[in-house]
């Protein structure tokens, strides 16, 4: 694809006001699917998590999962929405081979939740209230694999294979109203919003919320309007934005791309665009047009969802702490400075750090590893840090450092190995022989050799110029291949020099 012309971001903001709208799909982690009793599991053999309903077999009928309804109500409440006293499922009709019935059961004019608001906090401390239009229940589609052609992508493929395991997995789609006034923070608002939704669903325990697995998916609508005008510009909808980082990048990219087109006197095509993580760009997809006639009508196979006031209140009482309040609490509990805490929030790693601390790791250590080495690798690979390593495995690495088996340098190696799938931290230490040398005999031998080869240094130490020991320590660490505790080496150097 040809590279689109982009306008400088600051320049774009001078000329235009960006307006965004976000659609987030949350896959619920119920045991079974939305309308069938098939297992809702990731990673199974293809076409094994199916009942006749998931395949749309002739004669099959949907039945609503009670747990999915409860989860959806809880999510609606957590988003500050009103829960509809009567919400109705509707059929959205269109043909696509990943959709077994060639209609998706969704909700149309009567969604389960409406009119909410989510408070988010940006890295710069700015608090924004994102208005929620609605949240509705629907079912996910199956997965297509494109075979043949050069890229494994849809274009140029010879044929495609369909796995319906994901078909029918419960989804809640959360739709915001247009978000105005974001200005230069607009991209950050988008990612902070998705991050907050992620925090909310994790706190509710209703989704695995792994963006890399598609548990949480974001479509970003972006439009620009010239400064001083009222009318909203034509929007594009960017799909396939599957990490917090790319949400921010994609919104920023669209603002720059659209600004360049508008400034050149062009017009924006109302279309679906696809985000490409590798190139950091969006490409044109299906044009949106009147041809998209989904022929919605009330699903005749299902009854309305009419939750009792008691049920709603019961679920409201069980709501977990709001993410913003939770942040304030955790910051206080961990005794972090603003800067330290923002570091975690900005990386979208609050839950990871919290979980790690809950296992018993010191807050500072948890922060250091998540926002340091792990975030660095995530950045390098363009994935979310949370998907790389489990808090439990990190806790094991930190424990190995605390007990003196690893130093920080070795710990980084072990973390890298865990991420690369080499196994458990202790197993990696064993297999790679990574433990630091704690045998003083071996160290003393190396120290004595180093002191002997640098008599001037020995002299200086004896004269009280302790900083001169650094050269010896360096030589010893080198000789030990880094697998030594530098502090202990220093102690021993001073001890030997004084003898």
């Amino acid at each position: 694809m040809s590279k689109a012309k982009l306008m400088d971001f600051e320049k774009a903001l001078e000329l235009f006001e960006p307006v965004i709208g976000l659609e987030v799909h949350v896959e619920l982690n119920t045991k079974t699917k939305m309308f069938s009793s098939a297992p809702n599991e990731f990673g199974s053999e293809p076409n094994t998590n199916l009942t006749p309903v998931c395949l749309g077999l002739p004669g099959s009928l949907p039945v609503v999962n009670a747990q999915a309804v409860r989860y959806s109500i809880s999510l609606g409440l957590a988003l500050g929405c009103e829960i509809s006293p009567s919400s109705v499922f509707a059929r959205k009709n269109y043909f696509y081979p990943d959709m077994a019935k060639n209609y998706q059961i969704s909700q149309y004019d009567k969604p389960i939740a409406e009119n909410g608001s989510v408070e988010i906090e940006l890295a710069n401390g700015r608090v924004v209230h994102v208005p929620i239009e609605r949240a509705h229940m629907e079912e996910d589609a199956g997965k297509l694999t494109h075979v043949g052609g050069s890229t494994g992508r849809i274009q140029g493929a010879e044929y495609s294979l369909v796995d319906y395991n994901r078909a029918g997995v419960p989804l809640v789609e959360i739709v915001t109203r247009p978000v105005f006034g974001g200005e230069a923070d607009t991209p950050a608002i988008a990612s902070a919003y998705v991050s907050t939704i992620r925090d909310i669903v994790i706190a509710l325990g209703i989704s695995d919320a792994r963006m890399d697995r598609g548990n949480l998916r974001c479509d970003a609508n972006v439009s620009l309007r010239p400064r001083g005008t009222e009318k909203l510009g034509t929007r594009t909808e960017t799909k396939n934005v599957n990490s917090l980082r790319s949400v921010e990048r994609a919104v920023r990219y669209e603002i720059q791309r659209q600004a360049a087109i508008l400034a050149d006197g062009g017009s924006i095509l109302q279309e679906t665009r696809h985000w490409h993580e590798d190139t950091g760009a969006t490409s044109a997809g299906r044009p949106k047009s009147d041809a998209d006639d989904y022929r919605y009508f009330p699903e005749p196979d299902l009854a309305p969802v009419e939750p009792s006031r008691e049920l709603i209140e019961e679920l409201r009482a069980q709501l977990p702490e709001h993410p913003t309040l939770r942040r304030r609490r955790l910051k206080a509990e961990w005794g972090f400075s603003d800067l330290e805490f923002q570091d975690i929030v900005n990386s979208g790693l609050l839950t990871e750090v919290e979980t790690t601390v809950a296992i018993g790791v010191e807050p500072q250590a948890a922060r250091k590893w998540w926002t340091g080495e792990i975030a660095r690798i995530a950045n390098e690979r363009g994935v979310d840090a949370g998907s790389l390593i489990t808090p439990a495995n990190l806790a094991k690495v930190v424990a190995l450092v605390d007990e003196g088996t690893l130093n920080d340098k070795l710990a980084r190696v072990v973390i890298g190995a865990v991420i690369d799938g080499e196994g458990e931290p202790s197993a990696i230490v064993q297999a790679r022989g990574l433990a630091i040398v704690s045998d003083d005999g071996a160290l003393i031998e190396a120290i004595d050799a180093a002191l002997a080869s640098q008599p001037d240094v020995l002299e200086k130490i004896r004269e009280g110029k302790v900083q001169a020991a650094g050269a010896v320590i360096g030589a010893v660490m080198k000789a030990m291949g880094g697998q030594a505790d530098a502090a202990r080496v220093r102690e021993l150097v001073l001890e030997r020099a004084s003898q």
Partner: protein, 508 residues
Amino acid sequence: MASEIIDLTAAELATKLAAKELSAEDATKAHLDRISEVDSDVRAFLAINEHALSTAREIDARRASGEKLGELAGVPLAVKDVLVTTDMPTTSGSKILEGWMSPYDATVVARCRQADLVPLGKTNMDEFAMGSSTEHSAYGPTRNPWNLDRIPGGSGGGSAAAVAAFEAPFALGSDTGGSIRQPAHVTGTVGFKPTYGAVSRYGAIALASSLDQVGPCSRTVLDSALLHDVIAGHDHHDSTSLTDQWPSMAAAAREGARAENLKGLRVGVVKQIQGDGFQQGVRDGFAKTLELLVAAGAEIVEIDAPHFEYAVAAYYLILPAEASSNLAKFDSVRFGLRVTPAGGGTVEDVMSATREAGFGPEVKRRIILGTYALSAGYYDAYYGSAQKVRTLIQRDFDAAFTQADILISPTAPTTAFAFGEKTKDPLEMYLNDVTTIPANLAGIPAMSIPVDVAAEDGLPVGLQLMAPARADDRLYRVSATIERMLEEAAGMPFYARAPKTPAKGGAK
């Protein structure tokens, strides 16, 4: 022996089977032989169950070992091809599903198996139950045993003809706008559409989800009631399935058959679905039945249902709309026919070519009509308005049932018409459903029982009875009384008047 067996009703077969005077194997064999004998003319069956005899033998063995079996154990049954079955192909009368084997049984089929009924085979129907004559079956029409040149009704013409031709004592059907009742009317048999939600739709290939209802057909009221008791009741696989505890329909039918008269029964005659436009023989049969009811002490009330005149219009919006969506799953990906256009093509091309080749003209017509009715810009004018008419028709029924306990009408405007008579004009075919459609729109129970033979063509005429939702037992009670009175008057049951050899070129 064999011809005596096939003359027996399901209730009589059940009695002999329980008394071990007859084996399930013999009962099954007699009906299979009858099918071999007459079905090349009648063509009621699309598939014969090759396991029927072995199933029957197993039932006999279990009975011989002293196992306590259900009331109907060993009685043969015909199954409309709209119901999915694991041991026989299911096509719903369409080429697009030719040879398809379902990996699961419809709930009603499973319940029949559990009751140890013996499925004989799958019966013919209009493609996806769209039609009133079986002329829209992709496998050719079924013929009326009373006159092989006439239609057996539809869509369930196969089940009705099988029962009328003594190929099975009873059968399963489905009724979306009259597909059980109208075939009963034209074949001189009994057909019952239960209250919407009384019988599970799971495994019944959907035509119009909010109208479809599975039900029984047979030669006698009691036999339908017995089958009704087997298939009715809550099914958690169907979200529209009612959780009611139903009284025994067979008990109601037996009670009705014993009743001396119909004193105190208020019978409503709906002005809008009878009269001038109806065939003479149909009007005569209806008039005679009214006399009979009056003589039996029933009170006749004239009912005005002003919105019934909109019923056909509403029906032909709701049905195609729902059907266009329900039939979208036939796309060549997971089951059924696949037609690849010359030179290959994209998946979209393959889907379009498959649906072009696999669907018949009536199915295409209704899918296009339904797609239109749901399209942006037309929803409120068509589908939305039709749903409102549905409310108005329900209100008409509510008002009517404050004045009458049951409503009656002729089941259809004409007796069995000739093949080809109405296929050229779809609208005329649609208007044939004017009497039966209101019950589906309102979800109420309705049935047809044979009451007369038209003088002009010697073909049977049916009476439709309707009751409020959930009062299915009332219909069985009253119809059993009427059936007994008619039998007393004629000196024989109605089905005994059916030609024993399917009649070629006229019943007279």
